[in-house]
C-alpha cells in the first residue's frame, strides 16, 4: 500500500461519486425473500430500500472484436428479472447495491460542501466491511459459493464551468489530450463534443486483466443550468487471485490507473482549481 501515497492528490477534486463493485456467477437461490432477509443485516446503517433495474453482466475480454459504444447486450428471459436493491443511508451518501450476480458499494456526494472521504480511509474499508457481511450471509444461508468474474472501480466527476472555462466548446481548457475542434478548415463554430477512450490493462508478462474506460460528456446542472462535463473513469477486469484479496488487488490497481489517468488527461489550470497537492 505504500506506493498508493505517490499518487496525485487533490484537495478539492470534482468527484461526486465512487463505486466499487463485484460481478459474480449468478446465485439462483438469491431470490426476493433472501434479498429481503439480507437487508436485515444492513438495515441499521442503511434503512432506505429502493428497487432498480438490474445491471447486466459485462465481461472484459481481449481478442474479440472491439465493440463501439453503445455496447449491445442480449438477454434471454424466462421470468421478469430480479431487481437490483439499493440499501441507502438516511443521508444518502453511502449505498449498498445487491442483485443475484452483482454487489456494489457507492459513495455519493449529496451536498455541495461535502468532502470526498478518500479511498484508503473510507471507500475501501467500507466496501470490505459490507462485502464481508454479504459473503457471510450467502455462506450461512447456503446460497453460494460466490464466484467473482469481474470487479470494477468507477469515479464520476462533475467538472463545473467557472473561471477556466465557460462553454462546452472549450474542451482544450480542461482536457490536455483534446486538440481538435478548432480546425480552421471547418468554417463553423464547434458547439460541444463528447469522447470515450479505452485502455487495456495487462501485466508485465502481457496477461490481460481488464480495461480502463474514460468517457467525457457535456451536460448541465439542474439547479442552476451551469454547463458541466461529466468525466467518468471505470476500471473493470478480473479478480487478480482468489477471494477478497484478489478483488481488492484489482480495485487498488484500478484506482491507481484512474487517479493517474485523471491527472494525466486534465490541464494544469484545472489542477489549480482542484488544488493539486
Amino acid at each position: 500500500m505504500t506506493t498508493l501515497n505517490k499518487l496525485p492528490s487533490f484537495e478539492n477534486p470534482p468527484l461526486i461519486e465512487v463505486a466499487l463493485s463485484v460481478q459474480f456467477e449468478s446465485l439462483p437461490e438469491l431470490q426476493i425473500p433472501q434479498l429481503g432477509l439480507l437487508w436485515a443485516e444492513f438495515k441499521e446503517r442503511f434503512p432506505r430500500v429502493e428497487q432498480h433495474t438490474p445491471v447486466d453482466q459485462v465481461i472484459e475480454r481481449i481478442g474479440v472484436r472491439a465493440v463501439p459504444q453503445p455496447r449491445v447486450g442480449f438477454k434471454l428471459l424466462e421470468n421478469p428479472p430480479l431487481p437490483r436493491l439499493w440499501f441507502a443511508e438516511d443521508g444518502g451518501n453511502e449505498l449498498v447495491q445487491v442483485q443475484s450476480d452483482f454487489f456494489g458499494r457507492n459513495w455519493r456526494k449529496i451536498k455541495e460542501l461535502e468532502e470526498y472521504p478518500r479511498y484508503e480511509d473510507a471507500i475501501r474499508p467500507g466496501f470490505v466491511t459490507d462485502w464481508n457481511i454479504f459473503e457471510r450471509y450467502v455462506e450461512e444461508k447456503g446460497l453460494g459459493p460466490i464466484k467473482p468474474n469481474q470487479c470494477s472501480v468507477t469515479y464520476v466527476n462533475h467538472i463545473v464551468s467557472g473561471d477556466v472555462w465557460q462553454d462546452h466548446n472549450e474542451l482544450g481548457s480542461i482536457f490536455r489530450i483534446w486538440n481538435g475542434g478548432n480546425d480552421k478548415r471547418i468554417p463553423l463554430e464547434m458547439e460541444d463534443a463528447k469522447f470515450a477512450l479505452r485502455y487495456v490493462i495487462s501485466s508485465q508478462k502481457n496477461e490481460f486483466f481488464g480495461r480502463l474506460h474514460i468517457s467525457v460528456e457535456p451536460a448541465f446542472l439542474k439547479q442552476d443550468d451551469k454547463p458541466i462535463f461529466v468525466l467518468t473513469l471505470t476500471c473493470r477486469g478480473k479478480p487478480m487471485n482468489e477471494g477478497l484479496d484478489g478483488i481488492l488487488s484489482f480495485m487498488d490497481l484500478g484506482r491507481r490507473h484512474i487517479v493517474d489517468s485523471f491527472d494525466a488527461i486534465t490541464t494544469e489550470e484545472m489542477h489549480e482549481v482542484w488544488r493539486k497537492l
Partner: protein, 164 residues
C-alpha cells in the same frame, strides 16, 4: 418450463452497466441527446444473419426440463445461452458458417463447427470459462484447453474456418 412462460428476447440495446447511484438525477441532458435504434439495425443487418437460427435453437434448448436426457441432466442455464450470443456477436462475421448449438448434461451450452476439415467445439462452462477443442485435419493443427478472458486463440480458429 412451458413454452408459454418463455418470454425470450433477444432484447437488443445498450448494455446496462451503469453502477451509479445517482441515475443522472442531478443533470439535464442536452436537448439533442438521443438513443440509436440499435435493435432494428441489427435485426435487418446481413452481418447478423446467423442470429435468428441461433436464437431459435437457444429458445428450444432453454425449454429442456431437468433430466432431459434421462440420465439426470441439468436444465440449460440462461446465462450460458446469453454468453453464446455475446461470444458469437463478438467473433462471427457474415461469412462464418453457422454453428450447431448443443446442450450438455451439466446445463452448459456447447458451440460446434464441423466443416472444411475443422472440428471446433466451445463449451460455455460459465460466462468467464470456456473449454475449447480444435482439430484441423488439413493442417494437422490441434489444441485443447480452457479460455477465460483472452479470446485471441478462439478468434484465430474461427477466422480460419471462416476464410478457408
Amino acid at each position: 418450463m412451458s413454452a408459454g412462460n418463455l418470454a425470450y428476447a433477444p432484447q437488443f440495446g445498450p448494455v446496462t452497466d451503469d453502477v451509479s447511484g445517482f441515475s443522472s438525477c442531478r443533470l439535464r441532458e442536452r436537448d439533442d441527446t438521443s438513443v440509436a435504434a440499435v435493435g432494428e439495425t441489427l435485426t435487418y443487418n446481413n452481418d447478423f444473419k446467423w442470429l435468428p437460427p441461433i436464437v431459435s435453437r437457444l429458445k428450444d434448448i432453454l425449454q429442456l426440463n431437468a433430466d432431459w436426457d434421462s440420465y439426470g441432466a441439468h436444465p440449460v442455464r440462461p446465462e450460458s445461452a446469453e454468453t453464446v450470443l455475446d461470444l458469437l456477436y463478438n467473433l462471427m462475421s457474415s461469412d462464418t458458417p453457422i454453428p450447431a448449438i448443443i446442450p450438455t448434461p451439466e446445463g452448459h451450452v456447447q458451440i460446434e463447427w464441423h466443416t472444411k476439415g475443422i472440428d471446433l467445439e466451445v463449451e460455455i462452462e460459465s460466462p468467464a470459462l470456456f473449454h475449447v477443442s480444435y482439430e484441423d485435419s488439413i493442417s494437422n493443427n490441434e489444441w485443447e484447453g480452457d479460455l477465460q478472458y483472452d479470446m485471441t486463440r478462439l478468434a484465430t480458429f474461427i477466422r480460419e474456418l471462416t476464410n478457408r
